[in-house]
């Protein structure tokens, strides 16, 4: 982000801030949707973050640190939105026996299982995964955004992925049980 643009916005330049919002809009939506998995919630989180950025921008000492600081605010608004969210996803039917249709359905079912497994994670776990796998940020940058040490960022990502794999295994076991029950 252009540091001069940030400095002008800090001094109350509304045109400069409008420009900042336009530049971050898509990135913020992608990031918030990555965490919340719901576009309505993501839009609310992004809107709240944008207003909070405007309000607190003069307190940012280093305009060059705008990106990390703004994403940190966005993570917090995502946390707030997640508390208001009600989650329930109906499971997709299991892939059919037809191998061609089955393969396509299998991909969709895999994606569905991944979505369901991802939703088992806490917002903090999702945030570190999104920072790493969506924004492709190194651990140092993710740590800066989350306000934690690099070591904690590494371990949080590792635990988050481990929890995700455990959730996927559980989903797979539930699905296998259902298929056995249906076959009987």
């Amino acid at each position: 982000m252009d540091a001069d643009l940030v400095t002008r916005a800090q001094r109350g330049d509304q045109a400069a801030f409008a420009q900042i919002l336009e530049m971050v809009d898509d990135r913020f939506h992608g990031f918030a949707f990555g965490i919340l998995r719901d576009m309505h919630l993501a839009q609310d989180a992004v809107q709240q973050a944008m207003l909070q950025i405007w309000r607190d921008l003069p307190m940012l000492r280093e305009p060059g640190a705008f990106d990390a600081w703004a994403y940190r605010l966005l993570v917090r608004t995502c946390q707030a939105e997640s508390k208001r969210a009600k989650r329930w996803l109906p499971a997709l039917p299991h892939p059919q026996e037809d191998p061609i249709a089955g393969a396509a359905m299998a991909m969709v079912a895999d994606r569905d299982e991944l979505e369901r497994g991802f939703r088992h994670l806490t917002v903090d776990q999702r945030a570190v995964i999104v920072l790493h796998h969506y924004l492709d940020l190194p651990h140092e940058r993710a740590a800066e955004i989350l306000g934690i040490s690099v070591g904690t960022a590494r371990s949080r990502l590792s635990r988050a992925l481990k929890a995700l794999r455990a959730a996927l295994e559980a989903e797979a076991r539930n699905g296998a049980t259902t298929r056995v029950q249906e076959a009987v």
Binding site: T7, Q10, R11, G12, F17, A18, L21, E22, D25, D26, H29, G30, F33, G34, M39, A42, Q43, D44, Q47, M50, L51, W54, R55, D56, L57, P58, M59, R61, E62, R84, A85, K86, R87, A106, A109, D110, R111, E113, L114, F118, H120, L121, T122, V123, Q125, I129, V130, H133, Y134, R159, L161, A163, L164, R165, A166, L168, E169, A170, E171, A172
Partner: protein
């Protein structure tokens, strides 16, 4: 999901598949922010904060100087008469706890060394049950000058969604005794919680105390569950993160920790006067 499914690749694909947005969030923000006041560093006159804003390094110099003065002042008062300590002392490693090594690894003495066993899992909240539950309603005290105190006992089943250690796989029941102080958004809830987990070869039980209010939802709990039955002598040292859902039945707990032997836990430190 097949065993060869690439989770990392699947994650990247899933996260990059972002549906288009209509820009309404930015439009709504643009409508509101022109009339939203910005926060400034009020303890400094605006022209001073503007000046320092162009030279941020001056903040660091000023804060550092203030800290040095404060530490010097405190140190000169407290350092006198301080009992001498052995600078070489360091916390001893609890017997039985080693650096990561495979289970059953044999040390120089030829004895087997047990190592803590890492686990992680996800628990889903279930519906509250009536067994053991009482909702007393407590005594609603006159709110003028006095707080409302409402006592509540809730019993709720937690479903093990996924847990990496089979010794911790089973059915879990959560008992919560809560006191609520105040009302509305200012209410604070203090809770004493006990988890009882019944697994195939034994059971685990542990308790913790937490609070929740407008600023915190009681997540990030650390506590210990004691094993019984075949797990007698084992303890699960864990951290539980709480993720509330849309209602009480839709919440999730993420748990991580270690199963250790009782002898592997360090003793509770005794304050030294």
């Amino acid at each position: 999901m097949g065993t060869d499914y690439d989770v990392d690749r699947g994650l990247r694909t899933m996260l990059r598949d972002v549906p288009p947005h209509d820009g309404s969030a930015r439009r709504r923000a643009m409508e509101v922010f022109p009339t939203t006041p910005q926060r400034h560093t009020r303890w400094l006159p605006p022209f001073v904060s503007d000046h320092l804003g162009r030279r941020p390094w001056m903040y660091a110099v000023a804060v550092t100087a203030a800290c040095v003065v404060a530490v010097a002042a405190m140190g000169s008062a407290s350092w006198l008469g301080r009992p001498s300590t052995n600078p070489g002392s360091a916390p001893a490693i609890a017997p039985g706890v080693t650096s990561p090594a495979p289970t059953g690894d044999t040390g120089d003495t030829g004895e087997e060394i047990d190592v803590p066993s890492r686990f992680s899992g996800v628990l889903r909240c279930g519906p509250a049950t009536s067994e053991g539950a009482t909702t007393s309603g407590g005594t609603i005290i006159d709110r003028e000058g006095a707080e409302q105190l409402i006592k509540d006992r809730e019993v709720r089943g937690l479903l093990i969604g996924a847990i990496s250690d089979p010794r911790l796989d089973g059915s879990l029941v959560q008992y919560i005794d809560s006191h609520r102080y105040g009302d509305g958004p200012d209410a604070a809830v203090i809770s004493a919680v006990t988890w009882v987990l019944e697994a195939e070869a034994g059971a685990w039980a542990g308790s913790f105390t937490s609070f929740s209010d407008d600023s915190a939802d009681g997540s990030g709990i650390s506590f210990v569950m004691d094993g019984s039955g075949e797990y007698d002598g084992l303890r699960a040292v864990m951290t539980a993160d709480y993720w509330p859902g849309g209602d009480d039945q839709d919440c999730t707990w993420g748990v991580t920790g270690y199963v250790v032997g009782t002898e592997q836990l360090p003793d509770t430190p005794t304050p030294v006067s």
